[in-house]
């Protein structure tokens, strides 16, 4: 596996969308942003959260698993790529199977787009665009040790919980020190309702 990953800290995010603007500047997909920036507390606060591909490692890339034409490559270093333009038929399976809501679909182009960790940049030692520009390091790219050096009290968690399913990811989110439990993925609200017919 690769040593450097993205560490996401929504607590630091100021919602400025520099990441969104910068993603558009990536050479491999100029003009099209693959990152999501959501205001997660609308009406109450200016809280925001960026979403990049988490590069799921166990189970490996659900998006690639549900792809009917094997269009989503998974690199030897665990990077889950954007759909191959030759193969993708634009069916939308990955869009809805991704537990994090990452892939985007261009219906007219019959093509899926998703974050590939700026493979063209990161494979050459440059920082991914989003993490490079993020004014607050809410998106931080580096090794876990580098993260700790900057933020001694941070914990990085790479396990997410979607109801009964735990998903281990390549990228991680930052949690307060000592909080090692799986990060809730937002699904539990619904899965409890599913189980409770009332």
């Amino acid at each position: 596996m690769r040593s450097k990953n993205l560490f996401i800290d929504p607590g630091r995010c100021i919602g400025c969308q520099a990441c969104v603007a910068a993603c558009r500047e990536c050479d491999s997909h100029r003009g099209r942003s693959m990152i999501h920036l959501d205001y997660v507390d609308m009406g109450n606060s200016s809280a925001a959260m960026p979403t990049v591909c988490m590069h799921c490692s166990d189970p490996v890339a659900p998006c690639a698993q549900v792809c009917p034409v094997d269009a989503i490559p998974v690199g030897p270093d665990g990077v889950v790529g954007t759909a191959s333009a030759e193969l993708c038929i634009g069916c939308g399976n990955c869009v809805h199977a991704c537990p994090f809501g990452v892939p985007k679909l261009d219906v007219a182009e019959m093509l899926q787009y998703k974050c590939d960790l700026c493979y063209d940049r990161s494979s050459q030692g440059l920082l991914p665009m989003c993490a490079s520009v993020c004014p607050t390091d809410a998106l931080f790219y580096g090794t876990y040790e580098e993260l700790l050096e900057k933020r001694p009290s941070a914990e990085a968690v790479d396990v997410f919980e979607f109801g009964e399913q735990a998903i281990i990811t390549g990228n991680a989110v930052v949690a307060p020190a000592g909080r090692n439990d799986a990060i809730p993925g937002g699904y539990s609200v619904w899965s409890e309702m599913d189980q409770d017919p009332t």
Partner: protein, 349 residues
């Protein structure tokens, strides 16, 4: 050890079935060659390499297709897609929809034009070049078509199809000239399109996860076939046959290697995309009828109910135990995760 990829089940039964299917396909093609060439009477031995390569191709493509179709997502879509394609016209989608989809998606590839016009032009070049070349060469190498000089004519030829004499053609006439130089036109189309794609690869910093084998090799192979093929024409027309035989050997090698490669590289999309052509009809049909689902969080339109239940079954088969999550739209998924992070992990700095 990385976790097992459940798309490729380890049970050997499936594998054996694929080998068997591939073998059957290879045998069927061999039989067809024997029949079509009148027990090899009309078979050109110089083209033996091509024919063997194609027989292997039949094995490979069938083997790969069976393996591929065995994965849960592909299987479901293949069934749905072909049902939609072969359904009684007008039942779920308008009658004109089937031919429209076939023409606009398979032949004109309008979706590529949406990505970019130069890319579309280049792909059309590759596509029509390869299609015409295949239509010309496969029957020739199988011995299904051959030509015999018309007695007493300097440029007249009889066309034999499956051993039966059909029409006469004048090699110096327009039709004849086009027919005999068809492969040259194919080569020019392929070279034009391929050059654009190679140029893109060359100019852009390593594209997304570009791999030499998967991405670049097929392009290089097509270009090699086209160039060596054109070189044959140049040799015979302009250079009085100089270097023709070694060049013919090189040409055959490039072709045979490419044929063998097809099932494993990205060329396999030439099988996959037509096979999946019905999927869009299927999705359109399920959305058009009463089966559209709404995101259960925000109420925005999601997908067809059949799409969702299919995907949920697929996920179940793959051991992804959060199929209920599919009923929520991606945007609401992210916002729900953000909200839970705020509530349960940390709200602030």
């Amino acid at each position: 050890m990385p976790p097992r990829d459940p798309r490729f089940p380890p049970e050997t039964g499936h594998d054996r079935r694929a080998i068997a299917a591939g073998s059957v396909a290879a045998l069927v093609l061999t039989a067809a060659i024997l029949a079509g060439s009148r027990s090899l009477d009309n078979f050109d031995v110089a083209l033996l390499g091509y024919a063997l390569g194609t027989i292997f191709l039949a094995f490979g493509v069938t083997y790969r297709t069976v393996i591929w179709a065995g994965s849960p997502a592909a299987r479901r879509y293949l069934v749905r897609g072909w049902k939609a394609l072969l359904a009684k016209p007008g039942k779920s989608v308008p009658v004109s929809e089937v031919p429209r989809t076939l023409i606009s998606t398979l032949l004109l590839q309008r979706f590529i034009a949406q990505r970019s016009i130069p890319r579309w032009l280049a792909h059309q070049g590759l596509f029509w070049g390869v299609v015409t070349a295949t239509m010309i060469t496969f029957p020739l190498t199988f011995g299904w078509i051959h030509f015999r000089a018309v007695a007493g004519s300097e440029s007249g030829y009889w066309i034999y199809v499956m051993g039966m004499r059909t029409a006469k053609i004048d090699a110096l006439g327009i039709v004849g000239w086009l027919a005999f130089h068809g492969l040259n036109f194919s080569a020019v189309l392929v070279i034009g399109g391929g050059a654009w794609f190679l140029h893109r690869r060359w100019r852009e910093r390593a594209n997304n996860l570009t791999q030499l084998g998967r991405d670049l090799m097929p392009l290089i192979a097509l270009m090699a076939i086209s160039f060596t093929g054109l070189a044959l024409t140049v040799s015979s027309v302009l250079m009085g046959g100089f270097g023709y035989r070694p060049m013919a050997l090189v040409h055959m090698c490039t072709v045979v290697l490419t044929l063998i490669w097809i099932p494993f590289g990205k060329f396999f999309h030439t099988v996959q995309r037509p096979a999946m052509i019905g999927v869009h009809l299927h999705k359109q049909g399920t959305l058009g009828s009463d089966g559209a689902l709404m995101c259960r969080s925000c109420g925005a339109p999601l997908e067809g109910a059949v799409f969702v239940s299919d995907l949920q079954e697929t996920m179940g088969e793959l051991g992804l135990n959060y199929a209920g999550w599919v009923n929520t739209c991606p945007s609401c998924k992210r916002i729900a995760r953000g909200a839970q992070y705020r509530e349960q992990v940390k709200a602030g700095f």
